[in-house]
């Protein structure tokens, strides 16, 4: 049997496109240039080639179409029927037949014209023969244009059919519209089928997959079926009928107990009985859905009787298989897809039934004999007739019983959470099952960090002992320390000594500073003998003060200094003093002599006035103003002096064109302006 893959059928082009494709290919792939001067055989050959090439292409393409579309007799009857239901077998076959005839027609045309071309005698004739041939071929294709369009549509629809494997484990869901088949499908598989309140929401078959006991099951959701005679059914219903008829699957017949689908239980029961012939040899489960609206126990008597009838029918299928004792549980189940109550149970029951049936069948078939030799259950050979059941110690049995009881009795955390207000409101105390020496400590918070240390690093059961030892050690050590300290004190300086030392250091630093100043100005400072020095530091008073600060008596030294100095009015001052004797006021004399002395020591230089001294005729108000005026004068002169100008009017430029400004290349950049 040829394997068909509905999704891999090549696109069927429509009539015009088909012609365009083939003709352009002929144009490109065959030689195009021909002149009437060529040999006649060459001309004929040229045109024959074109005709043949076109025919070949058409043949090829049409053959692919015919081969790729599945033959309804060759595929699985489920698919055959499904395609028949969807596309009408006859139309389909007719379409393919038309394609076939077209192919043959084109071959015939080509054959005829090639024959005629053999006898063409001029370029023009050959050419027109070729034109006619191609034209006829294209007409054929134009005529089957609608067929091609139809086939393209079928191809597109077929590609979208759900990929159902007819041989694997399958569960089929059927029932009236709106009973909850698609919701059930959504719950147990990952399929996302549309669920809407109106009938016939599901318009075609949908496939989902689910797992049970490590095996994969296909779940097929069908559109709803109405209770009608067979001939009146529409295409959608026929899809589900087809599936029911051909697939070897477990059937879940859905029943809406509450009647919210719009159909009563009686109608649903009627449907059941009308299609029960389709349930032959298939494990059947009756599923009562929507129990949240109406529990099974609460329905009316008549309805209950109908349901029991259906159950009886379903039981027949159970008995029909495998001779098992009547297992009531797997036949009639209730659930609600809204509250998810019983959904898993239904799935498990269906899978179980299907699995059992398939295993039974396999066991009965011939194939099992091939595999049987691969199975071997090893049993020890019985020595005697004594029964030796498995030995389970009593303790284990008790423990198991207790565990079971505990599991039922124990309240789970989730239940607690729900009780106390839900996820966001209740937070479980994670510590309540802690095992501690004293139960009061369960909710204790211990600090993890203290004073820059991790507390956990210090925890030690005998920390107290060690701490005691440490403290003892510390006591000893501190005693030793004190002993050491006493030794040190003798070496310190007394208060007087410290003062003296401070003075020494101050003096020394002053000396150093002065020396440094002198050193830095040494080059620019003129070396002047002491008697001309302007600071006037070298006075006897100063000397006297310095000597007395060192603790010496300066008077002798001062006298000597004075006697050695040459002053002009020395004799007069001496006379004056001798003349007056002791009556003259010593102070005045001293003052006068002091002034004279001062004048005499600076004889060679005239004494200038202090800079800010106001001279009455000048016109300045006071000393401050004069100082400011002097400052302004100096400021105005400063810049000129720095530029080596002799005065305001000095505008001499020594070199008008200094070379370094007017020549030379730049290391980087341009020399556009100077």
């Amino acid at each position: 049997m040829v394997q068909y893959n509905f999704k891999k059928i090549t696109v069927v082009p429509n009539g015009k496109d088909f012609i365009d494709i083939i003709l352009s290919r002929t144009q490109r792939q065959t030689p195009t240039v021909v002149h009437k001067g060529y040999a006649i055989s060459r001309l004929r050959q040229f045109y024959m080639r074109k005709v043949k090439y076109t025919q070949q292409n058409f043949h090829e393409k049409l053959s692919t179409i015919i081969d790729e579309f599945p033959r309804l007799d060759d595929i699985h009857p489920f698919y055959g029927d499904l395609l028949h239901v969807l596309y009408n077998k006859d139309h389909y076959k007719l379409a393919l037949g038309q394609i076939n005839t077209a192919r043959n027609l084109i071959s015939k045309v080509a054959k005829d014209y090639v024959k005629l071309l053999k006898y063409g005698d001029s370029l023009y004739r050959c050419k027109s023969l070729k034109v006619a041939a191609l034209g006829r071929m294209c007409t054929v294709i134009k005529r089957i244009g609608p067929t091609l369009a139809y086939l393209e549509q079928i191809r597109q629809h077929m590609a979208r059919l759900p990929s159902i494997d007819p041989n694997t484990r399958t569960m089929l869901i059927c029932g009236y519209p709106n009973v909850g088949k698609s919701s059930f499908m959504n719950k147990i598989t990952r399929a996302d089928v549309d669920v809407q309140p109106y009938a016939f929401t599901t318009k075609s078959l949908f496939v989902g997959h689910t797992d049970y006991k490590y095996l994969r099951y296909q779940v097929i959701d069908t559109p709803g079926i109405l209770d009608r005679p067979f001939e009146d059914r529409n295409i959608i219903e026929m899809c589900s009928i087809t599936a029911l008829a051909h697939l070897r699957a477990a059937v879940l017949f859905f029943l809406d107990i509450s009647g919210s689908c719009g159909y009563s239980i009686a109608q649903q029961a009627a449907l059941f009985h009308s299609i029960k012939s389709l349930f032959m040899n298939k494990p059947l489960i009756i599923v009562c859905n929507k129990t949240d609206l109406q529990p099974l126990d609460g329905i009316f008597e008549e309805d209950r009787k109908l349901v029991m009838e259906m159950k009886a029918e379903a039981m027949k299928t159970v008995i029909g298989q495998g001779g098992e004792p009547t297992n009531e549980e797997g036949v009639l189940l209730t659930m609600s897809t809204l509250t998810e109550d019983g959904v898993i149970a239904v799935k498990n029951a269906a899978c179980e039934r299907l699995l059992n049936q398939r295993v039974e069948l396999k066991m009965k078939s011939k194939k099992i004999n091939d595999c049987l030799n691969r199975f071997h259950v090893a049993l020890p050979k019985p020595r005697d007739q004594k029964e030796r059941p498995a030995c389970i110690p009593q303790a284990v049995l008790e423990a198991k019983a207790k565990q079971a009881a505990e599991k039922e009795k124990r309240k789970t955390e989730k239940e607690l959470e729900d009780e106390y207000g839900g996820a966001g409101v209740y937070s479980a105390s994670l510590r309540k099952n802690y095992i501690l020496a004293n139960d009061e400590w369960k909710e204790d918070t211990m600090p993890e960090i203290l004073d820059g240390h991790n507390v956990y690093d210090f925890i030690d059961p005998d920390i107290l002992l060690r701490l005691e030892e440490l403290e003892r050690e510390e006591g000893l050590r501190q005693a030793e320390e004190e002993g050491d300290d006493f030794e040190m004190d003798g070496q310190e300086l007394s208060l007087e000594e410290q003062e003296a030392l401070a003075e020494i250091r101050k003096k020394k630093s002053l000396l150093i500073q002065q020396h440094r100043m002198k050193k830095s100005t040494a080059e620019s400072r003129p070396v002047v003998p002491r008697k001309f020095n302007t600071d006037r530091k070298f006075t006897t008073g100063r000397m006297g003060r310095q000597l007395s600060s060192l603790g010496l008596d300066p008077s002798l030294a001062i006298n000597r200094a004075r006697s050695k100095s040459r002053g002009r009015k020395r004799e007069r001052s001496v006379d004056k003093r001798e003349g007056d004797g002791g009556d003259a006021m010593d102070i005045d004399d001293n003052q006068a002599s002091k002034k004279l002395r001062l004048r005499s020591t600076s004889r060679s230089r005239s004494q200038s006035r202090p800079p800010g001294e106001v001279i009455p005729g000048e016109g300045l108000k006071d000393s401050a103003q004069k100082i400011k005026a002097i400052k302004l004068a100096k400021k105005s002169v400063l810049k000129r002096n720095k530029n080596a100008r002799r005065g305001e009017a000095d505008r001499v430029i020594p070199t008008l064109k200094p070379k370094h400004l007017f020549s030379g290349k730049r290391s980087i950049g341009k020399t556009q302006r100077r």
Partner: protein, 168 residues
């Protein structure tokens, strides 16, 4: 939550501070701030960088071996909680801390003692040699105590009058 030690300077890294670097051989380095991190990236050896604890310990500036360090050890096995033990531990931590810091400061004091002794000797020498700057040897011979001589300044009223025109 744990306080870590900075790998470079050995200061504590509190939660929310610093950077942790995990090397390809799965060794983890903690740094307290970008200064230490940058020094690490420059491949500097903390034992040669003056301000780190590693340097100080290596060069004997800080206390290295002491019994108080034995108390703080990273324990990998958690102990079952015991309230009394926890209380005692918390109190002990404070005492141990105090003892440790006392010992550390003593260590430093001892270290600086030799310097002090030397400085005192120097001061004594300087005093001896430089006394002539503040007290003339003659005066010293007369009065051997170190009490400094005072400057004698003659203050008279007439002098002040004379000085006025000069200073104006």
């Amino acid at each position: 939550m744990r306080l870590e030690k900075c790998w470079f300077c050995s200061s504590t890294v509190y939660p929310g501070h610093g950077i942790q670097f995990v090397r390809n051989d799965a060794k983890i380095f903690h740094f307290c701030r970008s200064k230490c991190h940058k020094n690490f990236k420059m491949k500097r050896n903390p034992r040669k960088v003056k301000w780190t604890k590693a340097y100080r310990r290596l060069h004997g500036k800080d206390m290295t071996q002491d019994s108080t360090f034995e108390f703080e050890r990273k324990r990998n096995r958690p102990e079952r909680y015991d309230r009394n033990l926890a209380e005692n531990t918390l109190k002990a931590i404070k005492k141990i801390d105090k003892i440790r810091s006392d010992r550390a400061s003593d260590h430093i004091k001892n270290r600086l003692k030799t310097g002090k002794v030397q400085r005192q000797k120097e001061a004594r020498k300087q005093l001896e040699l430089g006394i002539h700057l503040v007290k003339a040897p003659l005066a010293l011979a007369q009065d051997s105590s170190l009490c400094l001589p005072k400057i004698k300044v003659n203050v008279s009223q007439a002098q002040t009058e004379e000085n006025q025109p000069m200073e104006d």
